[in-house]
């Protein structure tokens, strides 16, 4: 698949169809993969593909705005929803980008892998997808690790193993069948089961730990505002010091702004240096939007986002 990718990108660059291609490249350590911008044909070999390519590169589609030419993007099925939303929200013209869709059978959650191995990640020399297992190279030996143990949560209920939005595709795969023995919103439901007090304690603890580095915002494909309301001085929505009350406002307003926009790429949780379980917050947002308004972001270009739409017969508990 990687070869096919190199082929396509080499061709695109040779034809001058794109200014550069955004894919995944080898990171500093064997286990880490980083966004890789390729502008020269001879750099194409740098592009890699595998179960460590978690990043949602759609964020970089916005770069096309700054260029005269087009950018090429490697897009997983799940991340394709961001492309749809960006077009829907008038942030990019579909023809400003060249999308290379890549079939995916699940990405590794590095935090889980570290636990399962019981070793520091730096000993991991590589990870391969071999169907229902990952083949993890630790030092010299290769270990089979069942996907159930180390998959990113969102991959358990993967609906789009193949990018449904592409100009070129690296092929198709069947969605693998893993019995996650829990629904898409299982984790959210667990939290909902707790008492109000417990939930409050849980989130206050999480929000208190936030250092407001803004990584969750900056990595989010939907945070494309020219000026974020958190950066505005008048009105001043939050104060700069990462105090609990301010952090709470920050995360709740983000959840609000992502309602109907969050496509579950999980980037916010992945990049959070403080390991704040933002996925739990945004899964809740997706759950409510689905249950209240029967809406799923990034699926249909013509579907009006739920909070800027209404039905005369929406439920009304407010009489």
């Amino acid at each position: 698949m990687q070869e096919r990718l190199h082929e396509i990108v080499r061709k695109l660059l040779a034809e001058g169809a794109i200014e550069y291609f955004i894919g995944y490249g080898q990171g500093f350590e064997p286990h880490d993969v980083a966004p890789c911008f390729v502008a020269q044909e001879d750099e194409v070999e740098k592009l890699v593909w595998g179960p460590l390519c978690a990043h949602n590169l759609s964020k970089y589609a916005l770069r096309a705005k700054e260029l005269d030419g087009k950018v090429g993007l490697l897009v997983k099925g799940c991340d394709a929803r961001a492309i749809v939303e960006l077009v829907k929200q008038h942030q990019i013209e579909r023809d400003e980008i060249v999308v290379v869709g890549v079939p995916c059978q699940g990405q590794v959650d590095l935090r889980k892998l570290e636990e399962v191995l019981g070793l520091p990640l730096e000993v991991v020399k590589g990870v391969e997808d071999v169907g229902d297992d990952f083949l993890v190279t630790v030092g010299e030996e290769k270990r089979k690790v069942p996907k159930e143990q180390v998959l990113r949560d969102k991959c358990f209920y993967c609906k789009h193993p193949n990018s449904f939005e592409y100009d070129f595709t690296l092929g198709d795969v069947m969605p693998f069948s893993i019995d996650a023995d829990k629904g898409e919103f299982a984790l959210v439901e667990e939290l909902e089961q707790l008492s109000l007090e417990e939930r409050r304690a849980f989130w206050q603890k999480q929000f208190a730990r936030c250092i407001r580095c803004n990584a969750c915002r900056e990595v989010c494909y939907a945070c494309y505002c020219k000026e974020c309301i958190f950066d505005s001085l008048a009105p001043r929505w939050i104060e700069k010091p990462p105090l609990l009350g301010e952090n709470e406002i920050y995360h709740l307003i983000r959840a609000l702004h992502l309602a109907g926009r969050c496509i579950d790429c999980g980037e916010c949780e992945r990049v959070c240096p403080m390991n704040i379980p933002l996925g739990l917050l945004f899964k809740k947002v997706q759950k409510d939007i689905a249950e209240l308004f029967d809406y799923e972001a990034g699926m249909d270009l013509d579907q009006v986002p739920p909070l800027i739409d209404f039905k005369l017969d929406d439920q009304d508990p407010f009489m």
Partner: protein, 147 residues
């Protein structure tokens, strides 16, 4: 100073509730309650907006995080919006925000949406009474620790 007031009446905690009222229905309803001299707890502070749909959900989040005891958003009854559609958006935002707040541990009673028409002075008074009682029962909204 608020304490003095309490001592004078010897009762305990008087919640501070922020009320957004739309100019055409609910604010008029509140006025009617006044004209009719309907007595109600001194807990509410009304901010007039032209339409309940002007109320940013961010206002609710900010108000509660800043420690106000409750937020009440009042609008015209569905179908009676002066701008024909506004309160339908208010309704959807309300539905969503209520669940989000509850999820992070903010009591649902602290954020409520109600429809009050210009002729429903009594309903305004009753709503204030009712919501105040509910929030009194909860006690003060935990003041945010500024750690």
């Amino acid at each position: 100073m608020a304490q003095e007031a309490h001592e004078e009446h010897g009762d305990g905690f008087e919640p501070r509730i922020l009320v957004f009222a739309c100019n055409w229905c609910s604010y008029a309803g509140a006025d009617l309650a006044g004209v009719s001299r309907l007595q109600m707890p001194a807990s509410c502070r009304v901010i007039r907006v032209m339409c309940s749909a002007r109320v940013r959900p961010e206002f609710v989040i900010a108000a509660l995080s800043k420690g106000l005891d409750g937020v009440l958003v009042l609008g015209c009854h569905p179908g009676e919006c002066h701008y024909s559609e506004g309160n339908y958006f208010t309704r959807r935002r309300g539905l969503f925000l209520k669940q989000l707040l509850e999820y992070v541990g903010i009591e649902p009673e602290r954020f409520q949406v109600r429809w009050v028409s210009a002729s429903e002075g009594a309903k305004f008074a009753d709503t204030v009474e009712e919501v105040t009682e509910q929030i009194k029962a909860l006690g003060p909204n935990r003041p945010r620790a500024h750690s």
